[in-house]
Every structure is written in C-alpha cells, then in structure tokens.
Symmetry: C2
Subunit: 240 residues, 2 copies
C-alpha cells in the first residue's frame, strides 16, 4: 500500500470563481483527512515570492490553515524535512523545476511524499513538476533546467489548462491535441492526462480519482484519445 | 558589412492562403536576389522527413527552384557545407534544435550564414532556432536539447505565431504577452519580437526590415511593448 497523498489541480483560476475557490472543498477535505494544520507554500514558479505567498496565504488562512513560505527560512531543505504538507503554486514550469533542482529539493520532496506520505498539493506548474517529467507543460522555456525529469510522484504526464481545439480559430499554430500527439511519438512517452481548467486529480495511496468541475482527456500511446468523466477511477495509471 | 542573408517567417500557414503562398513573393525575391537555384530543406522539426520534404519541395518546384532534403545524403554536415541555401521548416522547436545539435550542425550553419553569406530561410520553429535562443518558442518541450542556445544568426529572440490577448477568453492560462514579459525578467533576456502569423523578417547584411502581411509587436526589457508596422527598419536590433 503506497502512502501517497496527492492533490493536483489544473489551475488556480477558473472562469467565474475567485482564486482557488472552485477547489476549496477538495483542498479542505484533503488537508483535514490527512490531519494537516500547517502548509508550506513553494512560490518558485514566479519571481515575487513574498507577493505570491501573501495571495495564497490569504486564502488558506480564511479556510483555517496556517501557511509559511519556503523562502522565509534559511534552509529550504530543512523546511521540507519538517513540513506537514506542501502546496506548489503555478507560474512558469521551467523556472519552478530549475529552482527545485538548484535548491536540491527534488529527491527530498519525492522521498517525503512517496516514503513518508507527506501530503502534496500542486496547481498548474506545481502539477507539471509532480509528474514524471515536464515534457507536457504549456509554458515558455524561459530558463534552462538541468533536466526535464520531475518529481515523478505519478508515473505519467499531465497537461494542465488542457484546451479543446477551437474549430473557428484562424490561428495556425499547433492545437494542444497536436502537441500532445507529437510528444507521444517520442521514446519514453506513454500517457498524458489533459486536465481541463477546473479539473483535479486526487491520489490516495494506490487509488486515483478524477475530481473537480469538468471531464479530462486521456492520451495513451497507440490508442485514440478518450474523454474521462468526473469521479472516474484512474488507479490503473499508477501501474504505467 | 555583414554578409547575412536571412528570411524568417512566423508561420508557413496563414488563414486564407495555401501552404507558404502568402510569402511566395518574398521567398522568390530573396532567392533570386541571392542567385540561388538549389535549396536544401531541413525537416528535423517533424518526424516524417520524407513526407515533409515532399510537401515543401512541391511548392518550391512550382516556383522554379530545386530542392533536396538534408536527410537524403549520408553526411548532413557535408550537405550543409556545399549548400547554396537552406530552408528550415516548422514543427517542434525542441526536436529541431536537439537534432541540429545531434548532427553537429549548429556551428557549421552559423559559420556558413555569418561568414560566407549562405542564404538562410526559416519558418516557425526554423525561425526560433535562427535567433539567439529558443527561450521564446511556443512549443511543448517534448525532447531535452543539450542547450536552449540556438544559431544566433540574429542577436535577439523571436516569438513566432504571436497571438494577441483575447479579451473574451475564459481560459486562464498565461497570455502570450504575459509569457514574454516573464521571460524578460530573466538575466540575459533583452528583446523579443512577436511575429504574428503572416509576418516576416528580412535580414540583408546590416539591415532588417519587417515584411509580410501584418504588424509585429516588439518587447524590450524595461519599456512598454510597441507595435511595429510592415516595412519598418529594425536594423538597430542587430546592435543588441
Ligand atoms: Ca504556467
Ligand atoms: Ca511549432
């Protein structure tokens, strides 16, 4: 039985909701179930750590949780070692992954989540880095990380902010689906879950359930893409 | 006086035109001015080299030029050494740059263009790799190249397929402008030319002119983004 306790959001902002509001129940349930009172926020995907912490802390405080920023302590690794739980915010995935490597946090976070069951929450870029690799981020490669391999808390890829093809678009850049199918042509690529905004993945031990407001789109090498309904059990993806 | 002869397209496909049709006059003028009869096509941004060559060759043949694929010879570097001119097609920028590195073509193409004046044409990903680095590609990072540094035929960045923010969009991922401004916060980032689909950059020695069907948007660190009209002289960007 794996100890994994993971909640991965496609996005923090969803049309018609305030910041993180659409996921409030899922986040609170996740933290309460795991008896978490204190959350360490990791703001590395943006430049303004203090401003970012203030914004997220404001929401978590309203919900009754304590929050500190990983950048507020001298030792990020000591902070992770003693954290009850981490929340990894969105922004730029390359910047986030590079900063996690620079601070030597990749192995440490992975061990704490996989071996010790430290609850991990991520949104957008924070969801990308929780997967096998960042090969399916939508972000611009504004910095060069030492690898695209990520935390590998789940053994497949996620594309957050998944966007359906607009048949009326006059834009000729690749559609999201085309981009993901190009990735699946590469060696080592196998499964990509397209999480639409409002979609959330809950990993509880050996079980994965799609949560949130909207269907997801699943791409598996060699098969046609398929639509996944909310509350679908996707536990078989852990065996990939 | 620099020998540079470069034509960089934002895209091959533009709404309302057949493949490369919108740029036919600019491409033919560019090749004729440089007395080019034979073009080497570099299809590395896609997987199906033969299929891609066939599609592009069909267009260039109609225009009266001979075309061969770099993959048709045993030695890509010998082919570049003897090429009259190269055309680098679009697709995935990471795959293209990695394959150029794998085939040891980066320094070679750069020398031939900068020192010998070999005419270089690129579109989309082929435009990204012609610039300082691929930090401003829109593509998904489906493979890990040994560096994001590119051919550096021009000393700034280009964002091809530049897309204006849609005020009616319900999608909450970063806008293109937000992504580029995030890049400009990084060390070493200075100037990004957002080339809208249908936009083309002509580099003739020390002169750069915006060509094509549409305005471009120029982002320079520390200043507000500005709109650039077609036929504007952008030669000052070569001094960056
Ligand atoms: Ca992002
Ligand atoms: Ca592309």
């Amino acid at each position: 039985m794996s100890k994994r306790q993971i909640l991965l959001l496609s996005s923090s902002n969803v049309h018609g909701y305030s910041y993180l509001e659409y996921a409030a129940k899922d986040i609170k349930d996740f933290l309460n179930k795991n008896k978490v009172t204190d959350v360490v926020f990791i703001p590395y995907a943006l430049k303004d750590y203090d401003g970012y912490l203030k914004k997220v802390k404001n929401v978590f405080t309203t919900w009754g949780f304590n929050m500190t920023g990983i950048h507020e302590s001298k030792s990020p690794s000591d902070t992770v070692k003693s954290a009850q739980s981490v929340f990894v915010g969105g922004g730029n995935t390359f910047l986030l992954l590079k900063t996690l490597y620079d601070n030597k946090l990749i192995e440490l976070i992975r061990e704490r989540v996989i071996l010790e069951g430290m609850p991990y929450m991520g949104t957008s870029a924070g969801t990308n880095v929780a997967t096998k690799s960042i090969h399916t981020t939508n972000d611009m490669p504004i910095v060069y990380p030492p690898s695209f391999i990520a935390l590998n808390l789940v053994p497949f890829n996620i594309n957050p902010h998944y966007l359906d093809t607009d048949p009326n678009s006059k834009h000729k850049g690749e559609t999201r689906e085309e981009r993901i199918l190009q990735y699946l042509e590469e060696d080592g690529a196998d499964t990509v879950l397209g999480l639409r905004e409002g979609g959330t993945l809950l990993v509880d031990g050996n079980q994965i359930i799609l949560k949130g407001l909207t269907k997801a789109r699943l791409f598996v090498k060699g098969t046609s893409p398929q639509e996944i309904d909310v509350e679908t059990d996707l536990s078989y993806l852990l065996k990939k």
